[in-house]
Structures are given as C-alpha cells and as structure tokens.
C-alpha cells in the first residue's frame, strides 16, 4: 500500500482507547500479537525496576518510558536483524525488542559501558544529545543503499527534538537521497517542562514531511497495532527502494522526564489521568482478552513472569564485576597514545597507594 503523503489530522487507529477494533486488522498472527503484548510489559516492568533501583542508589538517571510502550515496541518489532536502530534514551523497550540483552542494559544503568554491547543487533547506543541520532539513521540508510544491502534504518526522537536543526536536516537528506529510512517522532506531549504546543505552531509534526518531500503518517502511538502496521509498511516500503517515511506517533509520557524531575510542578494531574485512560497496555490487553487470545487469569501470571525475568536480569547485571578502575582508558581511541598510557600507569599507582 502506498504511504499517504497528507497525514491529515486524524491519527491512524486500529484499536480505539477501549480496545475495540475500529480499523482494518493488519496481517499479524496471534502468536506475534502476544509477543508484542509481552514486550510492552517487559518495557514497563524494566522502566519501573530501574527507577526503583535509582531511588536506592543502585542505578543512574533514567527516563521513564511508561505510557509509551506501544510506540517503543511497535516501531522495533517489524525491523529485521540487519536493520539499524538509532534512538534517544527514551526507547529502551525498542532496544530490547531489537535484541539487546536485558542484563546488558541493566549493567549500563549501573553506569558501566557494557564491553559486550551486541553490535550484531544493529542498535546504536542511546543518544543524549537531542536529535543527533536522526542524522546517523539517515547515514546508515544511505550506506545500505550505496552498498546494496537490504537494510533499512529507523531513527527515533521526541517532539522536542523536532525543533533542532538536526531533525530537519535529517529529514531533508532522507528526502533528497531517497534514503531507506523511517524517521519516527515519538510525540509524548512534553520536552521536560515544555509542552508540545510550544515546540511548533503547526498542528502536527507529520506535516513537516510534506515540506521535505517525505511521505508522512500520523499514528495513535498508544495503539500497538496501528504503530506496528504503519512501521511494517514504512520499513518494507523503504526496503523496496521507495524511499523514506516520517512517522509521528501520538503518545504521552506518564512518568517524570527522568528520575531527576518532578512533573507535578508543571503539568495538570487531570491531563495525566486522561492519558492513563488511553493506556497502551490496557488497551491491547482488552482486545486480546475479548478475542480469546489471552485469558484474563493469565495476565497477572504473565506480569509476574516478566517481573521475574527482569529481576533475574538485574541480578545478573549486579553480579557482573564493576569495570576496572583504569578501564576508562580503554576505547578512547583504537590505540592509546604513549601519554595516555602514562596517565593510566599514574592512575594505577595512585589507586594502589592511596585508595587501597
């Protein structure tokens, strides 16, 4: 199906907020749907777990992804192993779906750089500088096109990131070079304390596609089937040589920006409650139960299984040795200069004499 150029103002929906089917079912197996459902639970439980660990001083700053599970899972699930994923800090669930082991992620939230970052998953490490990853996604896609690889790149950023030059330049490059890339704006309503309405006077970010000659879609980001369907089509469209797509997913950051933030200072509880009523997991769960694809009694059991999986991953991460004190000299560059080697020796001497 051709991708629409004009996104219009009505977000694409397959399930309404009550979990009722209001669109055309995508071709997706029951098993696949259950796996999407489980991945959303994994995302939520992981997010809550790391935040709990952070409160105990066992993890670094973390940005909650609660409320955004449908977008995070739905954008990554249709990707193939050779496809590239470039994200911000908000899409940890996407990385899990793409195959980054959960203990590896948990270890990284202890503040350590996993030495065994699974390069084969084709996930770039999370980006802190807002918007930058969109450029890299376009470059990865251009490389695939030049090399003739059947790989597509997906770049994901937030609503705030659309204001950066990087986002707009990425979109322009994608259009000019017809790069096999899907650029996703995860519009969660807020950029720290700045509401979506203050990022752009336009009514959608999807509308930006037209200005750059890039087809765009506006999607209900809390509807996993809509996100999955849209992303599947956009990714395969790119793989088929038909160029980039811009996808805006409408979702909401239910939690704080990060563990360092208190959102009650700047937003209405009523707004948060209204979005809770559109919870992506509850919505899909209702649908699955109504279709007899998931038994109601199974839900609690499944959540407990997921919690056990995450707890086990954290146990593994916490039992992994901390990085060696002088390890931060590793990988500064492919080889260390003699001066850096000398600094490293000094550091080791200091650790041995003073600290131990």
């Amino acid at each position: 199906m051709a991708i629409q150029t004009d996104p219009g103002l009505v977000p694409y929906q397959i399930l309404d907020a009550g979990g009722n089917l209001v669109g055309k079912m995508p071709g997706i197996s029951a098993e696949r749907m259950l796996s999407l459902y489980r991945s959303m639970q994994v995302g939520r439980v992981f997010s809550n777990k790391i935040i709990a660990l952070q409160r105990q001083g066992r993890a670094t700053t973390f940005g909650s992804l609660v409320g955004q599970e449908a977008t995070a899972v739905g954008l990554a699930a249709p990707m193939q192993p050779q496809d590239w994923l470039a994200t911000s800090y908000r899409e940890i669930a996407s990385l899990i779906v793409k195959g980054v082991p959960i203990p590896t992620l948990a270890y990284s939230f202890r503040g350590f750089t996993p030495e065994n970052w699974p390069a084969e998953t084709h996930c770039l490490p999370v980006q802190i500088v807002i918007g930058t990853q969109m450029l890299h996604a376009v470059g990865l896609a251009m490389a695939a096109k030049i090399a003739g690889d059947p790989a597509v790149a997906v770049g994901v950023c937030g609503d705030g990131a659309t204001s950066e030059g990087d986002f707009n330049e990425a979109l322009n490059f994608a259009g000019v070079f017809q790069a096999p890339v899907v650029l996703v704006v995860q519009n969660n309503g807020w950029a720290i304390s700045v509401p979506r309405s203050k990022q752009s006077a336009a009514s959608t970010f999807a509308a930006r596609g037209e200005g750059f000659g890039v087809p765009a879609r506006l999607v209900d980001g809390n509807d996993i089937l809509a996100v999955y369907d849209t992303m599947s089509k956009a990714i395969e469209n790119a793989r088929a040589g038909n160029g980039p797509t811009l996808v805006e997913t409408l979702t909401y950051r239910i939690g704080a920006h990060t563990t360092a933030d208190d959102p009650t200072r700047y937003r209405d509880a009523a707004e948060v409650e209204a979005w809770r009523a559109r919870d992506p997991i509850a919505r899909f769960q209702k649908f699955l139960i109504a279709r007899d694809l998931l038994a109601e009694q199974r839900v609690q059991q499944l959540i407990e299984e997921v919690e056990e999986e995450i707890n086990e991953a954290v146990r593994i991460a916490e039992s992994m040795p901390p990085m060696a004190p002088d390890s931060f000299f590793d990988y500064v560059a492919a080889t260390l200069s003699p001066r850096q080697q000398a600094q490293r020796a000094d550091l080791l001497r200091y650790i041995n004499q003073v600290i131990q």
Binding site: G111, I128, I130, S163, V194, K198, P325, S327, F328, Q343
Partner: protein
Amino acid sequence: MRTITYRDALREAIREEMLRDERVFILGEDIAGYGGTYAVSKGLFEEFGEKRVRDTPLAEEVITGAAIGAALGGLRPILELMTVNFSLLASDQIINSAAKFHYMFGGQPQIPLVIRMPGGGGAQRGAQHSQMLETMYAHVPGLKVVTPATPYDVKGMLKSAVRDPNPVLFIEHELLYNIKGDVPDEGVEYTVPLDRGEVKRAGQHITIITFSRMLHVTMQAAEDLAKEGIDAEVIDLRCIRPIDIDLLVDSVKKTNRVVIAEEGWKYYGTGQGLAALIYEFAFDYLDAPIQHVHGADVPMPYSKSLERLAMPNKDAIVKAAKAIVPAVLAHT
C-alpha cells in the same frame, strides 16, 4: 553580608539587572515556569512574565542566533543553554556570529549578549554531558569567557556581563549551584570586573592557579599543604579570556613555583595556555617546572566510582605541589 548559595546569588543578579534595565530579558529551554534545570530562574517568570522570561523550543542554535539578533536590535539578552555540552550545537552562532559581527561590521553593532551555561562533571551525567569546554571558546578573539566560582563572584560578574557591550560566555558549574558564600546585603550594589583574577588565599611557597569548581578543591589542598608547612597562594582566574596575566606574574615573582589545577583535559587547554604565558612572561622567576593537574584524557566515564577517578582531586594537587617545593623551603 549574608551567606547565600551560588544559585541564589545568580538569580539575584539576573533579577536586579532586569529591574535596573528593561532591555534585559532571559530566554532558554525550561527556564520559565520550571525555573531552569538548575532552578536559577525560579520565580522570575512569575515576577516578570512571558515577555521577559521566555521558554523556547528545544533548539540551541536559534536560541543563540535569535539572541544575537535581539542584541543587535537593542535588547540585552541573557540566554541559558542547558549545559556547555549543548552549546556545541550553537557554536557556529557563538564563534562565527557573536564573536565577529562587531569586527566585520566595522564596529557599528555591539553584541551585548550573555550566554549562561554550566559546564563540568561530577554528577554522573556521562561522556556527552560532563565537559568543561571553556577552553574552546577562550581560543576565540571577540569573546569574553568567565568561570565564577563563588556566590560573591557569580553575582558581581553576572552584573558586569549584562552591562558589557561584548558577548560574554558565562560558564557555571553543575556542582557549584549549592555552595554557599558571603554576599553583600540585598540592595548593596557591587560588580566584579570581567578581566581580573583574585588571590583567594595568600601564600609564599607556591602559586596554585585554578578556576571554577576546582577553586574549592584547591582551597582544601592548600589547607592540607599548610599542615605540612607548605604555604600555598591560591589564585582564582575567574576570567579565562581576557586573562589577568599580571596577577599571575606577580605571584610567580613571589613564590617561584606554579601548579595549575583544572578539571578539563590536558592537551591544548586552558592549563597549557597558562603555562605558556607564565613561561613567556615569568620564566626567569621560575625555580621549577610548572606542574599541571587536570582531568584524565578520556571522555568522562558514567559510573560514580570511575568518574571520581577520572576527575582531578585534592590529592593530585597536594602531590603536584610537593613535587616542586623542596623540603628545605617548607616551614620557612
């Protein structure tokens, strides 16, 4: 005098300048209702309203470029970039526009612009979010670069920066906002110049030159050295560009020994620039090679335990000082 935090001193300076001159306004990400990521502008939105306290879209380059435009248009913008790390997205505006318009347009327009931003590490913010980078901007003619380290200085220097006709990069430090210090009572007007360092501790055996957060680490090191009979003179540069070279030379003439202590990286940075100046202007007075204490030559590690080791500490300053103060000198 009263004792207030660096954060409160900064806010007072901004507020007083806004009251004094209605051309002064502030802009940046999350600075209005939120009060700024480091709570510096808290309350200013409520007091001055949206016209003079502007939350902007998330876009450092246009924040900076538009502030340059506003300065050209006769206003006195104080912009806040969330950290010096993200100023890199605005570095073209800072280096190619703010620093050059006065020159390229034959002295006609002035760019009375203040760019406030914290730099530095120590808060577990990882490699992309923990850099100093003052040295990068200090390299550029046409910019003033300052790094106040105490509540007194930050208030007085912000006021000078707002009144200065040049673009001033006002580099704070994430770990300084909560430190406390003496500041004159409210209503007592004072400013601190943007081209003078200050002797923060007088001493005779060695000169330790530092700036920003490292001033506080250095003061502790000086206490430790005193216990061992080494009387250190601590100089807070305060201004990275222009640099108060006379103050440094005068001190070297007295002590004949120099340690430079900075948080940033070793090569081609502020510390090496200082060392070159001292060798150029005070070589004959030096009795020992200049010692340089600096951050490890690596991107900042994320974990607390590793970050602590990658940053220069008191022990390193003490060690560097002892390496060049002969035992016979101590206790004299």
